[in-house]
Symmetry: C3
Subunit: 316 residues, 3 copies
């Protein structure tokens, strides 16, 4: 049901809500399209006319300047008209329902909604109710999904490692509160990565971790052993409720990525982080700024991936 919602009857992408259920064929189409857009960002004139005259609404029920900016840039490079809406401070406070807000925006002849919401399933709910010509992109909903982040991670890995079929990948840190860990796991698995690990304290793992098809480690020396890719997660201080952790210092000591711990990985392992980084908490500056880090490449590729998603949706 979830899966069908984002594909048309003949199997093309209609909405991007989650990587869960997306076939490898679609993921590869997005990554291949993104590759063609990487070059655009390096040109003197950075825009292409693929979405000229189309109206893209960044509908953010939850504030996220960074994510909103990447989508705004991507849409402008495609020559779309972009309208930013911080709905949190607006109609919602006047007691309007989510669906009324969306119905209103649809009636303004929107072509695409980029939706950020604190509640899991919000983008799905919206996708289920928009007019047939409108495309929905999930820009993060609660702890659930953040598919474009997952896609840019896949793009980054493919760019630096050439593919997925021989890789050992470790996802490290606060899996429980991360919007991106699930997207990453689904993406990696679908694209053929034979070994995905999560490395985290028990208190930061979801209860259903055993169903995710990953290997679980609680120690860095074991979890990073001989991996090709280390994907750090941000410690979501602001999402944590109650005392699941002894302290930031304690976390750093056991699971913070230092040069010493990184030595357990392969010598040519790459280090990724979705940002913003808590330096000295989940990652040490020496690693973050070191030769194995590809963190800023992730940001650059993120623009190309979002352009790819938008242009594929608009073309379907």
């Amino acid at each position: 049901m979830k899966n069908n919602l984002q594909l048309t009857d003949d199997g093309r992408l209609r909405h991007l809500l989650t990587l869960d259920g997306l076939p490898a064929r679609i993921l590869t189409q997005i990554l291949d399209t993104a590759a063609s857009f990487v070059a655009v960002g390096e040109r003197d004139v950075k825009s292409v006319p693929l979405l000229r005259g189309k109206a893209v609404f960044n509908v953010f029920f939850e504030n996220s300047t960074r994510t909103r900016t990447t989508f705004e840039i991507a849409a402008k490079r495609l020559s779309a008209d972009v309208v930013n809406l911080n709905v949190g401070s607006s109609s919602q406070s006047k007691g309007e329902t989510l669906l009324d807000t969306v119905a209103n925006l649809s009636a303004m002849h929107a072509d695409m909604f980029v939706v950020r919401h604190a509640a899991a399933g919000a983008a799905h709910l919206i996708a289920r109710h928009v007019a047939p010509h409108i495309h929905v992109v999930n820009a993060g909903d609660g702890r659930s999904s953040h598919p474009t982040q997952g896609l840019l991670d896949m793009f980054t890995i493919r760019h630096f490692k050439g593919g997925f079929h021989n890789l050992r990948v470790a996802i490290v840190g606060d899996v429980l509160h991360s919007r991106v860990a699930r997207s990453q796991i689904h993406g990696l698995t679908t694209l053929g990565c034979p070994e995905v690990r999560v490395v985290a304290p028990k208190t930061l793992l979801p209860r259903d971790v055993d169903n995710l098809g990953v290997h679980v480690y609680h120690r860095m020396d074991q979890g990073l052993k001989d991996v090709d890719v280390v994907m750090m997660l941000r410690l979501q201080n602001e999402r944590m409720q109650g005392a699941r952790l002894p302290s930031a210092g304690e976390f750093y000591k056991h699971w913070g990525l230092t040069v010493d711990k990184l030595r357990f990985a392969k010598p040519d392992a790459i280090v990724m982080h979705p940002g913003p980084m808590n330096r000295g908490v989940e990652i040490d500056s020496e690693v973050a700024d070191g030769p194995q880090a590809v963190i800023l490449s992730q940001v650059t590729f993120g623009i190309a991936v979002r352009m790819a998603v938008m242009s594929i949706l608009a073309g379907n």
Copy 2:
């Protein structure tokens, strides 16, 4: 004086501040122009170059994401350069006067100001002081006027009913705090509607209601009897001071539009609402989502009406 302010010496529209005093000729010009823009919203490329190179400033002294968005979209579809200013949180807090703020923005070579302000008369004050080439559009000032909302209501009625000359129209609810009720009444009267009613509890009617040229009803069964159009008003909870109402539940019981109450109107009556709706307060969901509701059409037409106003002003 007020009337002259928005017309040029030879009777063309210079500013749009209020529907009060605008001749039927101008209203009809706006509605006819809007009709030509409705088609633009349905095209694949939604923009026309009528305001290319013009600078439209959305100057919002009071936050209203919804209204700002409709004007932003309208201006972008006309190819204008749009600058959004939330002035409430800015210069005003530095002690600058309203007129100094406007003089400064004028000096930046603005071509049009779209003004939202909590105080009645703010748009008039600004129009009185801007340079001759600058046009001012009132996007809502206090309880006073919201002329583009009134215009889109007229457009919607004309669209669904073909004209005004045989219509019986009921305006229902919080007339006292509504920015749009006065615009609606003036528009309907000017365009030849023979019978305009207001239906409201006494505590939500303005003192001068007898001067508005409308029929006043306090009961829905009588007020809705055989009307062609039901225009619901939003219950302005956030504007009300003191206890003018027993409760939202009490209001709903007597004046909330339900399927049962709607039966008093003609069978083909249309139901309008300016949004955002308080479902279960002034309107029941069964009506809001029912076959007689044209609420989302109002939103769509609102873009075309604002494009019409802007393009007429820019051409004058």
Copy 3:
């Protein structure tokens, strides 16, 4: 070091961080270029394609709608893609460092950063770390610099007085907390103004005022005597800590610019103010709105000056 940072090896402008250290040649290039843009603002179509396809990021770590708007308009007139970021309420609150924020934005293929920050030296710090192709414009950092404001002041003086070589200029008011006083002093001195005065109470002068190469006055009758230009400063109420002033009324009595005090200046002296004005505090309305005031011309020229800076940087 500071000086070298903003010039390329062959002496062209790479960043605009401060007027301090900029040679007269560069200042004159900016003013001459701005003169050619003044005409653009008066045309019917106000844009030129000089920055088409370039991405300009307004990165405001401190809110300033007025300054942000002038840069946004300038960039849009140059046909750039403009992205506004209020970073204060964003990543910074998630604990990200200034340089991480900037590195991330750089990775989004930005071409130019317009930076506003509460801390002196922030724009320098950023300029020191951006990729080689990115240009940084300081839009105000703490009390330190606000070079485009200084430049538009120079432009205004040159426009109305024809040049600098025979001028006597008085800078009046809160020099201590002003971002612009230093920029003004450096600009005037570099461009050949033979006599720059500051007129202020001792408590509103910086300790190092004797090193600035200006004449210091504490009384208006003496300080304004026979000057050609009176540059008023805004009384920075919101920046002042502790009781450096007896009261706003007391300040007005001694240093507020009234018609009476202005009579000490030459009869054709011009009066400038960076805005927003505190009428009745540092300047009387009769002067602010009088025939010698060129305050709104400063705003208009400010757009042209910012266009000049951006287009020169993008061309270098």
